[in-house]
Structure formats: structure tokens, C-alpha cells
């Protein structure tokens, strides 16, 4: 459900239009923190480690 913003101009408390989903994402530092850790952890670290772990051992 989209949030709404309240005008902070004194004397003006009419509800304005809903906040777009993209702006909700950009305004949520903890969601961004989660994304910023999850994406490189999966695509760089875990994927890379799995490739190394699956290398056959030389005999």
C-alpha cells in the first residue's frame, strides 16, 4: 500500500499524492542496506566461493 505525504507547510495539512514506490525505496536506508549487502554477497562472494569449492583437487 502506498504511503502518503503530509504537507509540512504551516497551516496546510492536506494529504498529497501517494509516494511512488521508487521513492519509498530510496527513502528507506535499511532496505537499501539490505540490498547493498545481499546483491554483492550473492553475485560476487557466494557465486565465487562456490566456483572455487567445486574445483577438482589435483592428483
Amino acid at each position: 500500500m502506498a504511503n502518503t505525504t503530509e504537507s509540512n507547510v504551516p497551516g496546510d495539512d492536506v494529504l498529497e499524492e501517494p509516494v511512488p514506490a521508487m521513492q519509498q525505496l530510496l527513502d528507506n536506508p535499511f532496505l537499501l542496506l539490505f540490498i547493498g549487502i545481499a546483491v554483492p554477497t550473492v553475485l560476487y562472494t557466494i557465486w565465487g566461493v562456490m566456483e572455487i569449492v567445486n574445483l577438482p583437487i589435483a592428483k
Partner: protein
């Protein structure tokens, strides 16, 4: 426990400083400059050894100097300064009290102890493993313990930053979205958390290995995870110095971002993709597949590069719009000709943008291409590239910010008249020449990690083209210029902060503020009188920047093509 709610308002800028945050900013900035001083002194030895005509230090001493130079410059100087930026971007820009100042001091002292311990390990002489410290080359346990303590301290500082964002929102000290500079700092802090966590994953077992508690560290595993720390730590810098660019444009010109949405989306691309560029250090390593390498570099990294190009376009674009609105609206470049070329923060930020884009950015994309990487892997090209990104891009931007902060934060005048402006020119131009000639020598095969580039006395010598030696000599000359510029910065900063003329502020008083201290928001004029309306030419508000962007893209395409052509000559496929 009572919460300190004492704030100071800067009479010059109107910026609001929370007392504990201000103190932390000062201490972090001062320690950062001390690290820069140590790294700078060590740079003399490194440069005069790399400059083959001088070749000053013996091998052992060279590697020792190089290790300490790399760590003090790439880690301690920059991250201490970035912590000051995080506190500034949260507490000051959001006009909010700092979360848990006590924890912030714990973090700060952990960072100081960690930096001292790491320097002690290198000073002992048995930890000359360079910045990369590749296992199975081992260092003294205090080397790793120092880095871990430093990382834990920095992590605490990052969470103090996030806590401050929570307080600002809860106490409604700002309205709507956080300012763009704060958003850039959020990006830097997010990358920092990933970086530090990755560092812990690899440095803790390596510490145990150095203590003899673990038998073996796999070298490829070490390199893969370590670069998640080593390269991402430099991506914190990118997000931080781009934030400084936006701040510089706002401070010097009163410029507003051309599009907040576009700039924030570009920062979002950093959050998604910037850390993945770490893979370009492993492009020549066996064991990792081309799928992993190419996805992380040639796909994901390009999206981060796109973000950098957006910032590189929007910051000068916003400056152009601000200048045109002031009346410098003739032709394509009157706004640039009549820019304040005697203003040190502007000069530093401008050279930082141009150097980072043209030298660091284009070379970074070339290096990140798996095939082209073969030409320059482990050559002098690599330090040439990162001196363009980290030194011209980040350090020079931070130098410019320092000249703004000395009066604002330390309440002192910047000493020695115009020397700060000259410093920005000398350091920026010299470091640009240094990076270009280093990359040139690297392109011709001059190695990066060997103490003696000439391989003198080796049974299988190698004759480099004479041009490579010319490049190295020019690198040495420009390097000396950069050292002079660095020394000027240190002299100006240290003298100004400790001995400079105090800025008197009559009737100054620190006041205790109550919750919700932000003033009522003022409606911003938009629409018909929106940003950039009525200026520009040919239907564009920033045509000069558009032309500069085309010059950049042409250079980019040409350089990329030249390197593919060069690859076909050094590695002919018949």
C-alpha cells in the same frame, strides 16, 4: 543518561553542528591528515625507487615502504576522513543530534589503535606483504589484528551514522527525503558495511592462520574474498567523493542537482553494482569461470560506470545551470571560462571530476574487460589507474572539502593566502601526469610488483622499449610535483588548524536545542520558474556540459578501440 543537545550554528554558512559530532569530525579529520602525512613521507621512498634513474631503496626497505604507504593512504587516511564526512552528512546536514556519541568514540579509538597496530607490524620489518597481503605470504599477527580492530571501529561508526538517520527521522529534523549529499553518504556507508563484513570473513581466519591455529589458507579463496574488501573499500571512496562533488557545487555556486531523481537513481546503481567490480582484479586468475568474471565486470560493473557517468554529467551540468542563471549565459563555455578559478575548493573538485572521469574512469572500464585486462594485468598500469581514481578523484576532492571545512569546522582562516589554490593546481596536474605516464609504462609491460623493473642481474632479462623508460622518468618528475603538492596541503592544513588566525564570532554561544529543531519548510518555487528555466541554448539548459560529455564519450570509444587493436598486436591469433 542525559543527552547532549548542544548545537552551534556556523555564522558564515548557517550549518548546524551538534557538539559531540563536531568534536568527532575534528578528531577524525586530524587523524586522517596524520595518516596522509605518514603515507606521504613513505611515498618519497616508493617514488624514488620506482624512478629507475634514482632507484633509492633496497628491496626489503622498498616493500616495507610500499606496504605502509598503501595502507596509510588507501585505508587510514581515506576512511578516517570518510567517517568525518558521515558525521557531517548525517548530524550537520540533517540538523540532528548524533546517535550514541559514546559508541562513536569507541569506534574512533578502535580505529586509531588498529591503525597504530598495523603500522607497528609493518615497522617491525616482518610484515612487508603490501596492501594486498596475499596468502600464503604471511605477516605478523598484529598486522591482521590491526586491520580487524580498525574495521570494527569503522563498522561502529557506520552504525552510528545509520542511528543518526533514525533519530533525524524520529525527531523530524528534516522533511521529505534526505538531502542528496546525505543520500550519497548513505551509499558510502552501505558499501562500507559490505566491505568491512567481507574483510572480517577473510582477515579473521588469516589472523588465526598467522597464529598457527589454522593450518592452511587457500590462496585463490583468499584473493577472491579479500578483493571484496580491498576493492570495495575504494568504492566507499567513489560514493563519498561524488557526494563531495555535489556538496562543492552547492557551496561554491549554490548549484542544485539537475535532477534529484536521476542522481539518486545513479547512487542506487552504485548500491546494486559497484562492489561487483572487485572481480576485475581476478580476471587473469585460473579457477574462476568466465561467467563469473564477465557477469561481475562487463555486465554489472558497466551499470556502476553508467552511474559514474551520470554523476560526471550532472555535477558540471548543475554548475553550468547555476552559472548561466547568474548571467554567464553566452555561448557554450562562458560559464566555465568565468568560473572561480582562484577558489581552491572549486579547483580541487573540478580537477577531481575531470581526472576521475577521463583517467580513472576510462582506464577502469578498459581494465574491467576480460580480454583487454591481459595487456595490463599486474603492470604499472594498475597503480596508474588507482592513483587516478583514489588520489585525483578522492584525495583531491577531500582536499577541496578541507579548505571549506577549516573555517567552518575549525573556525580558522585558511593560511598562506592563495597557496591553497596553487596547491590544488600543482597536486591535481602533477598527479594527472603521474597517473598517465604510469599507465603508459604499464601498457608497455613495466611490472607493478617487482622492486627492480629492469630485472638487472636476472638470468632471463627483458628489454623494455625505450619509451617505457621515458614514461617512467616522466612519472618520476610528475611524482615529485605531486609530492610538493601534497606537502603544500599538509603545511596549509596543519598550520591553519593549529596556528591559523582565529575567526572571531562576537556573541557566539552554543545553544541547547529542543526536539524538532528544524525550521518550518519553505515552499520551493517549481514549475514555470523551475531549475534552469530561461537559460541555455539549443533547447538545452546545459549545452556546454553536453558537449563535454560528447568529448568524453569520443575519448572513451577511441581509447577502448585502440586497446583492442593493441591486444591484437601483442597477442596475435593466426
Amino acid at each position: 543518561m542525559a543527552v547532549n543537545r548542544n548545537f552551534r550554528t556556523c555564522p558564515t554558512t548557517g550549518l548546524v553542528f551538534h557538539e559531540p559530532a563536531e568534536k568527532l569530525m575534528r578528531w577524525n579529520a586530524v587523524v586522517a591528515v596524520v595518516a596522509l602525512l605518514i603515507g606521504g613521507v613513505l611515498a618519497i621512498g616508493v617514488l624514488l625507487t620506482r624512478w629507475q634513474a634514482v632507484h633509492l631503496l633496497q628491496a626489503d626497505l622498498f616493500y616495507q615502504f610500499l606496504t605502509a604507504h598503501g595502507l596509510n593512504m588507501l585505508v587510514f587516511w581515506i576512511i578516517f576522513f570518510e567517517m568525518a564526512i558521515l558525521y557531517f552528512a548525517s548530524s550537520t546536514l540533517l540538523r540532528c543530534r548524533l546517535a550514541t556519541p559514546g559508541m562513536a568514540w569507541v569506534g574512533f579509538w578502535l580505529m586509531v589503535v588498529g591503525a597504530l597496530l598495523n603500522n607497528y607490524a609493518v615497522l617491525r620489518g616482518d610484515s612487508s606483504v603490501m596492501f594486498t597481503s596475499y596468502a600464503p605470504m604471511g605477516a605478523h599477527p598484529t598486522f591482521y589484528a590491526g586491520l580487524i580492530l580498525f574495521a570494527v571501529g569503522a563498522l561502529i561508526a557506520c552504525f552510528v551514522f545509520f542511528g543518526t538517520l533514525v533519530i533525524a527521522k524520529a525527531e523530524r529534523t528534516y522533511h521529505g527525503s534526505v538531502p542528496l549529499v546525505t543520500f550519497g553518504a548513505i551509499t558510502a556507508a552501505i558499501i562500507a558495511v559490505f566491505t568491512i563484513a567481507t574483510g572480517a570473513i577473510i582477515l579473521i581466519p588469516t589472523l588465526l592462520w598467522s597464529l598457527g591455529l589454522i593450518e592452511h589458507i587457500d590462496s585463490l579463496m583468499y584473493r577472491t574474498i579479500w578483493w571484496g574488501f580491498g576493492h570495495s573499500s575504494q568504492q566507499i571512496n567513489v560514493a563519498a567523493h561524488v557526494s563531495v562533488w555535489y556538496a562543492g557545487a552547492a557551496v561554491v555556486f549554490g548549484a542544485k542537482p539537475m535532477s534529484e531523481k536521476v542522481s539518486r537513481t545513479a547512487f542506487l546503481l552504485y548500491i546494486f553494482f559497484l562492489q561487483l567490480a572487485s572481480a576485475h582484479h581476478l580476471l587473469a586468475d585460473p579457477g574462476l569461470t568466465s561467467n563469473w568474471k564477465i557477469f561481475n565486470t562487463s555486465y554489472a560493473m558497466y551499470l556502476a560506470v553508467l552511474a559514474s557517468m551520470v554523476h560526471g554529467l550532472t555535477v558540471p551540468g548543475s554548475i553550468e545551470v547555476a552559472q548561466r542563471q547568474k548571467g554567464f549565459n553566452n555561448g557554450l563555455f562562458e560559464w566555465l571560462r568565468k568560473a572561480p578559478w582562484g577558489n581552491a575548493p572549486f579547483v580541487a573538485v573540478f580537477i577531481s571530476i575531470v581526472g576521475f572521469g577521463f583517467l580513472g574512469g576510462i582506464s577502469g572500464v578498459m581494465m574491467g574487460t576480460e580480454q583487454l585486462n591481459l595487456i595490463i594485468h599486474n603492470t604499472l598500469y594498475v597503480p596508474g589507474h588507482f592513483h587516478a581514481t583514489v588520489v585525483i578523484g578522492t584525495t583531491l576532492a577531500f582536499m577541496g572539502l578541507t579548505y571549506f571545512l577549516i573555517p567552518v569546522l575549525f573556525r580558522r582562516k585558511v593560511a598562506f593566502g592563495n597557496m591553497a589554490t596553487w596547491q590544488a593546481y600543482i597536486f591535481g596536474i602533477s598527479m594527472s601526469g603521474f597517473s598517465v605516464f604510469m599507465m603508459g609504462a604499464g601498457t608497455l609491460g613495466a611490472p607493478r610488483r617487482h622492486w627492480d623493473i629492469s630485472f638487472a642481474g636476472n638470468p632471463f632479462g627483458y628489454e623494455f622499449p625505450a619509451t617505457a623508460w621515458l614514461m617512467i622518468a616522466l612519472m618520476g618528475i610528475f611524482g615529485v610535483g605531486a609530492l610538493v603538492g601534497g606537502a603544500m596541503y599538509l603545511a596549509i592544513t596543519v598550520y591553519s588548524v593549529f596556528l591559523g588566525e582565529k575567526i572571531q564570532t562576537p556573541d557566539f554561544a552554543t545553544v541547547s536545542a529542543k526536539r524538532g529543531m528544524a525550521p518550518a519548510p519553505q515552499p520551493v518555487a517549481v514549475g514555470a520558474t523551475g531549475h534552469g528555466a530561461g537559460v541555455g541554448a539549443w533547447g538545452m539548459v546545459a549545452p556546454g556540459t553536453f558537449v563535454l560529455a560528447l568529448v568524453f564519450l569520443t575519448s572513451f570509444v577511441l581509447y577502448y578501440f585502440v586497446n583492442w587493436k593493441y591486444l591484437s598486436t601483442v597477442w596475435p591469433l593466426r
